[in-house]
């Protein structure tokens, strides 16, 4: 039977170390909503999402009450809208009307984000894909809760450089359209290489076409729990360090598995995956950078950071894999800048640069995340940053992403407030040299040699 010290340990993790379930994300396929009449399409989308998700928030709160564990976010992901809207949408305004429908239903069912205003263009763009991409600035500036993502490349297909170039323009335009709010629109827009179909985390969540009609995906968190556990093994060997991370990751993931199973049962929706992630928040102590410091670095970004992060990421996966029956494709440690107080401190101290962050993305999940850059950064430079990150993902057969925010009207060192879970960020300097001629080339970068595995 459970003993008192185990109960105290679990409750300390929840109360003092910010253990929580970061998100329950309900994935909903909209393929059966497709209609060539735009009004009928919007109507069907609203009804399908409303019916599927009307009890999501209530169920999340009920589970949270039963187990005494906070479930921070309840969210929805849908089939990439470029596919769903292809038959009906002839203009960018048509596509943006679907974004408004998504926003409306998100408000109605009480979720804080809805993801899937997306296009998958890793090899080429259909006219509808391109139209959706061009509608992103309008869609994100006229909605509150809609998140958008675009998959620009994969190990199997190479990188669609035409889409990379276009996304540089769209990110800049989204920043312009939302400049009154510190270019907040860009915080809801992410580009991927090797995007997983079952990502529960925003802004990149969408419900892949390989998925069932509905699915529950859960993202766990708990950087504070790992940090506290590591405080007890200061100065010990790597073996002890790794074992400690692994055991802690196991415990954290078990909570995710429990919540996922319970949500799946209560909503009568199949359980998809648990994403084993250390996802930081701006709350003090809920930081991945603090774990890196606890491992032995003065600041995140110091020499040794990439190795420490590689170790952390690997042990989180090793501990988590046995804790869950199905593990998601994005698992690992997240390193967003604005959402992590330790990362912000490292940037302010001058320890962390975009180039170092890029190196770190080679060994952990996702990529350059929530990084504020000067508002006068050119479109081609943004495309260059994206291309670099996509290349890392393509060659290393991993998911990489870019979510940068060119903050219109602000320069290096100024502070940007995004509010809530998105936090705040100091504007970081970007390499000033041009890549215009490179990103102006048309076509795509071919798939790397090791993709030919047949």
């Amino acid at each position: 039977m459970i003993n008192i010290s185990e109960v105290v340990e679990t409750n300390n993790m929840i109360e003092k170390e910010n253990l929580d379930v970061r998100t329950i994300t309900l994935g909903i396929s909209l393929l059966d909503c497709i209609d060539s009449d735009l009004n009928a399409l919007n109507d069907k989308i609203y009804k399908k999402i409303y019916e599927a998700a009307k009890d999501l928030v209530k169920t999340g709160e009920e589970i949270s009450g039963e187990f005494g564990i906070p479930i921070v976010n309840k969210r929805i992901s849908v089939t990439p809208i470029a596919l769903i809207g292809a038959a009906a949408c002839k203009t960018i305004e048509d596509f943006a009307s679907i974004a408004k429908t998504l926003d409306k239903v998100a408000h109605e069912v009480g979720v804080n984000f809805i993801g899937g205003y997306s296009a998958l263009v890793s090899k080429g763009m259909t006219p509808a894909d391109e139209l959706l991409i061009r509608s992103i600035p309008l869609a994100l500036s006229t909605t509150e809760r809609v998140c958008s993502s675009v998959n620009l490349g994969s190990t199997k297909t190479g990188i669609n450089m035409d889409a990379v170039r276009l996304m540089g323009q769209m990110i800049k335009q989204t920043a312009e359209y939302t400049k009154e709010d510190d270019s907040l629109g860009c915080a809801k827009l992410v580009v991927f290489c090797n995007a997983p179909d079952d990502n529960p985390f925003m802004a990149g969540a969408f419900h892949g076409v390989t998925e069932a009609d509905k699915i529950i995906n859960v993202g766990v968190s708990g950087p504070g729990v790992v940090k506290t556990a590591l405080e007890k093994v200061r100065g010990e060997s790597f073996e002890v360090l790794c074992e400690t991370i692994k055991k802690t990751a196991f415990k954290v993931t078990r909570v995710g598995q429990l919540v996922a199973k319970e949500a799946s049962r209560m909503l009568n929706v199949p359980f998809g995956i648990v994403d084993l992630s250390l996802a930081p928040t701006p709350a003090i102590g809920d930081s991945v950078a603090d774990i890196l410091c606890e491992i032995g670095l003065e600041y995140a970004g110091a020499p040794g950071t990439t190795a420490a992060l590689a170790l952390l990421n690997d042990q989180v996966k090793k501990g988590g894999v046995m804790a869950s029956s199905y593990v998601g494709g994005l698992s690992g440690a997240f390193i967003p800048v604005s959402e992590d107080q330790g990362m912000i401190d490292a940037v302010v101290a001058g320890a962390l640069t975009i180039e170092k962050l890029e190196a770190m993305t080679c060994v952990c999940s996702v990529g350059l995340d929530m990084i504020a850059i000067p508002g006068d950064t050119s479109e081609s430079t943004i495309s260059g940053i994206i291309a670099d990150e996509m290349a890392i993902g393509m060659v290393n057969q991993k998911t990489t992403a870019v979510r940068v925010i060119p903050v219109i009207g602000k320069g290096v060192g100024e502070k940007v407030e995004f509010g809530g879970l998105l936090g705040y960020a100091p504007v970081m300097p970007v390499n000033p040299f041009s890549c215009e001629a490179f990103v102006s080339r048309t076509g795509r970068i071919p798939a790397p040699i090791h993709s030919f595995k047949n």
Binding site: I2, I4, T10, N11, G68, V255, Q257
Partner: protein
């Protein structure tokens, strides 16, 4: 059997166990195990209870026990046993 773990944390005072037990008895909740310890100077009590016969929902029981705790200056939490089982048992 539906097991729930009730934890009581706070400054020790007369009648904590009596008040919690009275509430449980009134709601047909059977106590299976009680243990207590002092952690960092605080009174920590854990009860494992069976709520199979209970007349209250988990949410109502948790709310009422929380209020009862506020009355005596301690924090009372109710959590289903599975969260501890999942975390500490392979």
């Amino acid at each position: 059997m539906k097991k729930t773990i009730i934890t009581v944390v706070g400054k020790d005072t007369v009648g904590i166990i009596a008040k919690v037990c009275t509430y449980l008895a009134e709601n047909k909740i059977n106590i299976l195990d009680i243990s207590q310890t002092i952690v960092q100077g605080y009174f920590n009590m854990m009860m494992i209870v069976d709520t199979a016969e209970s007349t209250k929902s988990h949410g109502d029981m948790a709310d009422e026990l929380e209020k009862l705790g506020e009355g005596i200056g301690v924090i009372i939490k109710c959590q289903k046993e599975e969260i501890f089982d999942m975390m500490h048992r392979v």
